[in-house]
Symmetry: C2
Subunit: 296 residues, 2 copies
């Protein structure tokens, strides 16, 4: 990882998101899943955080037992390198805005940690569910993975998670981003027609996104004309909302210099540096010293 | 309907899509559903098509029994006012590209009828399923209804429906359209990476859409700046792909003059007239004579 990723692009901080292990919340046994999450987090601290000061880790939680997940978040409150609460699989078939998950967000807010939802996951060893029926091919599933994150985002906002936890921030990982503008157009329109069902909401859905939500770059959609995707993302202030993510070491990872070549130069410092500082609440002094910063 | 819709905007042809009755494929009893679809189609012919020459009807099918559905399509082959095969609910939890549904498409192609998928439906009396879990509020469900149609479109193309039935055309009804460009960007990219799983595909997914797929306008997403949504749709040749639909008499129906005010004038003749002729394979001589055509 040092040679292929960190040194190569002068990375000052890389946040680990686990691999197949991240699917703890898809396991049928909630007690086992809770212990597995504890063990994985300890392994991340012992094996990885001790190995390189540039590394930070997600706090994996077994959302089957939200109160136990909250305890696990608090257990890491004193470790500044355990930087975000990560949700992947969904044990309840209700999206992550549902009140059953709220103890997790209360603990995240209390300990000053943002929440990250990792796209693409369904249940243990199963592909993510898709609207209208479950697809049959990996090609279909991979094409439609953003749907899961769309649903969780709509659920988070609609069920008032940000009203209940006003300091909470949310990062959508590995679900792309070009689907967001048209979703927000529809979401705002629906709010105007149906807001009596959600009296706890105080603003337009797009305003909650502007304040509380960030997205990772991976994978940056490829438009026929290069500028189309960044023009589209510009309509939701993409230069301030996108945070570079590599997806290293997956087959479809996006290298830093590839993403740098695809977004406007005026976005580089923010997408590769400042937006992450804003999301995680860091200052530059919180990062390990390094000769240069990524793509500065 | 004459006063509120047909006469008011000089409509020359209106295609009926049923109301709550359209959910036949969500019924648990496949034999009952098959008979119900037959009865509803007969009712549409007797009650509506006889009442006004401007009206045409969808052929509703109970997709629980695809061979019976094929027979029902063929039963109406001789009636030129039964103009499209309509799918709404999904009885099998596999999207509509799955081979179980192919007898329906074979009958549609043989009888020269296009297929229409109506968005928003799930199972009988249930909301449509959403990726990542089932949402809890009508507001959430209504916001995410396009997911169902996204999934069916990806399934149709990925499972080679258009390769197997090269004359088939597909209309996506009441699911909006602004989500399509970013989905196609992703879909084409995934095809380049994963095409070995779908060796029957001969072209990029976006090329199948360009040849075989149309969308109705309802609801046309509302962007913060009026021109954004049509600029976005222009990237997929929206002026040739969109077909006006009213959603009359629903609470969120789009009147013709409202849509006319929101799309470029250069699109009017196509969106309100020519694109429907192209999709249904009509010439102007197939339409009832009228003083003027809609928004000409």
């Amino acid at each position: 990882m040092r040679r292929q990723l960190l040194d190569r692009a002068d990375v000052r901080r890389a946040i680990l998101t686990f691999g197949d292990d991240s699917h703890v919340a898809g396991h049928h046994n909630p007690y086992f899943a809770t212990e597995l999450a504890r063990a994985l987090n300890d392994w991340s601290v012992d094996r990885w955080l001790s190995a390189d000061t540039r590394l930070a880790s997600s706090i994996l939680v077994a959302s089957q037992l939200p109160d136990e997940a909250a305890k696990e978040i608090k257990r890491h409150a004193g470790n500044p390198h355990m930087v975000q609460v990560m949700l992947v699989d969904n044990p309840y078939n209700y999206p992550f805005g549902h009140p059953v998950f709220h103890p997790i967000y209360r603990a995240a807010e209390e300990t000053g940690r943002p929440v990250a939802i990792h796209g693409g996951a369904g249940g243990w060893a199963n592909p993510a569910s898709t609207g209208g029926g479950n697809v049959n091919l990996y090609f279909e599933a991979h094409t439609l993975w953003p749907q899961v994150v769309m649903t969780h985002l709509v659920s988070f906002i609609s069920q008032g998670v940000f009203d209940k936890f006003p300091c909470l921030k949310l990062l959508l990982i590995e679900a792309g981003s070009a689907w967001l503008p048209s979703l927000l157009w529809r979401f705002d329109t629906e709010y105007k027609g149906l807001r009596r069902e959600v009296p706890w909401l105080k603003r337009l859905p797009s305003e909650y996104v502007a304040e509380h939500v960030w997205l990772t770059t991976q994978p940056l959609e490829v438009s026929p004309k290069r500028e189309q995707v960044t023009q589209l993302l510009g309509w939701i202030d993409g230069g301030r909302k996108l945070v570079y993510s590599s997806d290293y070491p997956h087959w479809d990872a996006d290298e830093i210099h590839y993403i740098a070549s695809r977004i406007p130069e005026s976005w580089h410092r923010r997408v590769f540096f400042e937006n992450a500082l804003a999301f995680y609440g860091w200052t530059e002094a919180d990062l390990p010293t390094h000769d240069r910063m990524a793509i500065a």
